[in-house]
Symmetry: C2
Subunit: 390 residues, 2 copies
């Protein structure tokens, strides 16, 4: 039997396994402390509230049946109204028609990139940035460039995270946000603003999102910014529930794309979330903020006491990540190969770049590490550093 030569499309051919997943296979002992995954801690999920919400749902026959049936592509009106209120508190005046529910922010990134990029188009990013976005941009065949290093030529799209950025944890000032919008306007680019961590703020006042700044001298239906939100960090990622907010004509186009690609977000997840949000989002996120803040503080304290002057790092005001910069001649991949056998893992900085930059940096995630293990985690990291230095 002659075997088949599977001839993939250009799109499929450009997709390659993510660097992070390859590094996940580095061998390490059983008691390894994993500072790699950027996951919420499942111990913090609102299990009781979910049980009550879904129990209530299925005790009402009509509601239970609806929760299992097909539903419109745009998503539950109640959820979209909730999202409008959520966005209003962030300075964005949106109607339900400005909102599309998507299967997590990742699908938001995919839809926005697929909507505005042809192969060969220029896409601008921050360096470093979220690898899941780089993967989508690569699949689209975009020519990826750092937004500050690219010249003045037109770009199809600019992808940015301005609050508790993944991987750096950095939050941009309002003038930096305006500067990003200016870059996009000058290059005629659509802005994709990815904001998954905003509900997890420990310190300071919320900054206005890019969409809000974009809409300050025009209506939302004339903006170039597509805002991506998600319940993955504030409630639970297993629901696969995120949203896109933007200009109505664009939301209509994205809705059509979503309809063709997978019809709609899961109805059961939407119905459970509507019930869960009856009591508001704040009571649910208060607990998360308190827990993650304690871990951030533990991580920073451990870095100060255990890592010392081996590197520098920022103080994130929220989110999951601390970004550590090592001396310029050090390679974080080499450090990982020393650290894993000692029982600590992380993601090397280059995994977050389109061009292999940030080789001497690493992302530490404190979201899923018990605070009492932070010191030991960083001690192991410091030991690996010292071994590597020789």
């Amino acid at each position: 039997m002659n075997s088949i030569d599977y001839r993939y499309s250009d799109y499929a051919g450009r997709l390659t396994p993510s660097a992070i997943r390859a590094l996940a296979s580095v061998a390490s002992p059983d008691d390894t402390i994993r500072l790699g995954p950027g996951e919420p801690d499942s111990e913090l999920f609102a299990l009781d509230e979910f049980r009550d919400a879904i129990g209530g749902l299925f005790s009402d026959q009509k509601e239970g049946r609806s929760a299992l049936q097909y539903a419109p592509t745009a998503g539950s009106l109640e959820l979209r109204q909730h999202i409008c209120r959520h966005m209003a508190a962030r300075g964005v005046e949106a109607a339900p028609e400005n909102v599309l529910l998507v299967s997590g922010a990742q699908q938001g990134i995919h839809l926005c990139c697929a909507a505005f990029l042809n192969a060969g188009d220029r896409a601008l990013v921050q360096t470093p940035t979220y690898p899941g976005a780089l993967q989508v941009l690569a699949a689209c065949g975009a020519e990826v460039a750092d937004m500050d290093e690219a010249g003045s030529e037109k770009a199809g799209l600019l992808y940015a995270m301005s609050t508790f950025q993944n991987p750096t944890g950095v939050t941009l000032s309002q003038s930096e946000r305006r500067r990003i919008l200016g870059i996009a306007r000058d290059r005629d680019a659509i802005v994709v603003e990815d904001d998954p961590y905003e509900a997890l703020r420990f310190d300071g006042e919320p900054a206005r999102c890019l969409l809000s700044l974009d809409a300050e001298d025009r209506t939302i239906d004339e903006t170039r910014t597509l805002y991506l939100g998600t319940f993955s960090k504030s409630i639970a990622p297993g629901l696969r529930l995120g949203w896109i907010v933007g200009a109505r004509p664009v939301i209509e186009k994205l809705t059509l794309m979503k309809q063709a690609e997978d019809l709609q977000v899961g109805t059961l997840a939407q119905a459970a979330l509507v019930r869960l949000l009856d009591g508001g989002l704040e009571p649910l996120t208060d607990r998360l903020r308190a827990a993650y803040r304690t871990r951030r503080d533990g991580m920073l304290e451990a870095l100060r006491t255990e890592f010392g002057n081996r590197g520098t790092w920022n103080v994130p005001d929220g989110g999951f990540f601390v970004w550590v910069t090592l001396p310029t001649d050090m390679d974080a991949v080499s450090l990982l190969h020393e650290a894993a056998p000692l029982g600590v893992t992380f993601v090397p900085g280059a995994a977050f770049t389109h061009d292999g930059a940030c080789r001497n940096a690493l992302r530490l995630s404190y979201s899923s590490v018990p605070v009492e293990r932070m010191a030991e985690a960083v001690r192991r990291l410091a030991r690996a550093f010292d071994t590597l230095i020789g």
Copy 2:
């Protein structure tokens, strides 16, 4: 403020609203009997079983937490093993590595088309066929042709439903299935076999699926057929849970695509389904088969007694649909405009074709109509026919 000219990608530009949705806006009275939507009847959903399954899930803390957390892109191993057993009963020997969980069969269609079609590539279809597939093919920029009318030139992909087809309800014989495979082999095309209704068989013995026939003289890892299954008709569409079975290298590529596009199928839906399937799929589908069979019988009886020689139709062995062919000079869209005011709606045949063929045919869905309303529905249809004939 100068407004923005949103410059969509070629892919997004090719997407246009579906013809079915446009026709859904034809005005009709409140008591209209809708023979249009191809939805399962939500009255038949296993509400009690779902309540128990999810209640059990959240009463186990570990399981509850997992159900809300991220999970691997390929999908739950337990579910994939279940699907392997399901496929084995249909003559396909698959390992879990041959299975990818997707967000409904629609996502399966999208992923398979995006994986194997560049703009301008030839795609072969049945006439008529499922409009959701035509929409995806259009978005991919495929040059769509009927599989029996296209010449012998190479094609990227052949899309087919061989059991209780949507919209005709027709089930192909084994020799017809072999013929389709032969067409695909001669044209070097990947076969996308969409099989959403197979669990809803009322009469006759299951035929071997295209994948099973493709694998009879080679291993599954050397086949060209990608089989799409779904729990949308056999359990509930609101879960958004379907699957792709095929050659391992292709499944790996599709998994990578799904990872970039939306990371994974909802974990909560997967966990609920694992619990629900503890008792097997059969007890759940027995009830559905009985109910839908009664409706099919009611529809056929109503057509015989009320529609008579105004048209011809087939007897489906399962699924949701009867396909009615009117005299060649009649237009089903005109019939719909007569029928809607009389209180009955359906989908005109041309909505199921890439080239506007089948103008004198219509799809009647009996899945959601109480059997006691069938006669009245078809009586209204006959009255509309007679008015149109004048």
